[in-house]
Amino acid sequence: MLDSLYIAWKYISFNKLKTTTLVACIALISFLPMALQLLLDESERQLMSRAAVTPLVIGAKGSSLDLVMNTLYFGDEVPELISMASVERVENMDLAMPIPLYVRFGTRGNPIVGTTPDYFEFRGLIVAAGRQMALLGDCVLGAKVAEILDLKPGDSLVSSPENLFDLAGIYPLKMKVAGVLAKSHTTDDLAVFVDIKTAWVIQGLGHGHQDVTRLKDPTLIYKSSESNVAATAKLYHYTEITKDNIDTFHFHGNLGQYPITAVIAVPYDEKSGTILRGRYLSKQETRQIVKPREVIDGLLQDIFRIKNVLDAVISVVALATALAIILVFALSLRLRQREIQTIFKLGCSRLTIVRLLLSEIFITVLISGVFCGAMIFTVNQYANEIVRMLFIR
């Protein structure tokens, strides 16, 4: 048997182009359905596990999928904004604990999640290093963000402009890293958490600047009266919140009208949850309340329908590939008739000839298996990121 494998290996290694083509065909056609299944399992696990533990999400009417993806997985698609009054409304109903979320901005490719400390308690997130965010301008990093950006408590991080052409927009805010969360193996590992007010500062709704009542430079004053001073655009706005300037930061207008993207509602019990859902059923209602599990279920149904179609396509391609491989072996056998005749003349049995050919197939399939395994291993290693890339970002 070893001799057959030896001769087969020599043949395979000599005919590199043929072997490479066969190995590529077999490896790819085996890899595709397995990788697809692996990614679907991972997406189901990843999407469903988080959806299952998030009871209700309130947001603006529109795409429930965008709302859930943004709220649960901090997806790039920002839903219609709602106001902080929505939080107050849930509070007043006394049926659930409301947790506001403002997921709109980002920093170095990671989402900035504006929320309240209740969020950390709700998700069971623990600060592994440093402290919880306490001051305006503080941020707490998800474990993976800290790892990728190589940041630790005491470092700073600058928010990104909303888009590249936002030149006249709000200055990026330099945030102070207060703490780093322990790994949760969820989307939270990939986020930068700030207090909801810090998120408003990033948007420019809250800001800090020189005290206009003490300005000495006349070019900084646009209009002045006894009760009011209006500054010119030359007035310096702080881009970092420090001990010295934190008192100058302020918010204009009614905070209840300030924007958020969603409210996670954690009902006190099942009945409260049902009543809460009922309160958002009216036709005049401008908000929607969704059960993330139902929304993700719908998404997965769609994905599985697509997967079934892909499975059928892959089956046909696999059959065609298998036939092509059989053809390659059959043609190769025909080309090698003379060689087979020679070794038969020398004294080789037909069984040994069959064994030689089977050894070639075995080695080819084995190499393909190794390549397929390596590719599956790689996909498995990055399944989390691939799923995020495919379904969330």
Binding site: D3, Y6, K10, N15, R338, K345, L346, G347, C348, S349
Partner: protein, 218 residues
């Protein structure tokens, strides 16, 4: 060494018929078989080697009646008792020269490949003047070198009989002489018998005996 009695054979297609009433070759004899193309020279080699079976008559090789052996017996007999040398060398291009020489040992359980055989193969190649080409592939060798490698392959199991089917047919005059010298020397050194089919009339005078095949064909 070879004893053929009342041999009759015919191919189903083409109507070819071969009839040999009596034919024998002595041990150590160097015999050339000549005859026109299609006269059955190669068929005779295949009959002696047990690759094909006669309809009538007996073929004895080294006191073994080849036709009475079963398939496996004939194969084992062939690989252990007969060394084949072909016109086109029939070396496998994906194997090194050493692997080609050792090939019979790897395709049959009747021969055992061990270190001694490896050493013998290397020594044989050295004798044949291709000792430095063992790691090369057949395509890197000249025609003469390829045939020398093929002779090494045939001689390694120390066969009692060498069947050479136009072994010099694809060689230039110098290499023809050289290959024939090597085959004759092998007959002496290994106490073997040589039966060669040839069209090369210039070489005939060097053989112990020449058989004209047209005498056998019906």
């Amino acid at each position: 060494m070879i004893n053929i009695r009342q041999l009759e054979f015919h191919y189903q297609i083409g109507g070819f018929r071969l009839s040999i009433p009596e034919f024998s070759v002595e041990r150590g004899e160097r015999l050339a078989v000549i005859g026109p193309s299609g006269s059955g020279k190669t068929t005779l080699l295949n009959l002696i080697a047990g690759i094909i079976i006669p309809e009538r008559g007996t073929i004895g090789v080294n006191n073994v009646k080849v036709g009475e052996l079963n398939d496996a017996g004939r194969r084992d007999f062939r690989i252990t008792h007969i060394g084949f040398v072909f016109q086109d060398f029939e070396l496998l291009d994906y194997l090194s020269i050493l692997d080609n020489i050792l090939h019979p040992y790897r395709i049959s359980g009747a021969l055992t490949l061990n270190k001694k055989v490896h050493a013998h193969a290397a020594a044989l190649a050295q004798e044949m003047g291709i000792g430095d080409k063992l790691t090369r592939r057949p395509n890197d060798l000249s025609q003469g070198e390829k045939q020398r490698a093929a002779i090494c392959r045939a001689l390694l199991p120390q066969p009692k009989l060498i069947l050479a089917d136009e072994a010099t047919g694809n060689l230039d005059p110098d290499n023809k002489t050289l290959i024939l010298d090597l085959l004759f020397r092998a007959v002496e050194d290994y106490n073997t018998t040589l039966l060669t089919v040839t069209h090369d009339h210039e070489l005939l005078k060097r053989f112990d005996r020449v058989v004209d095949f047209k005498d056998f064909r019906l």
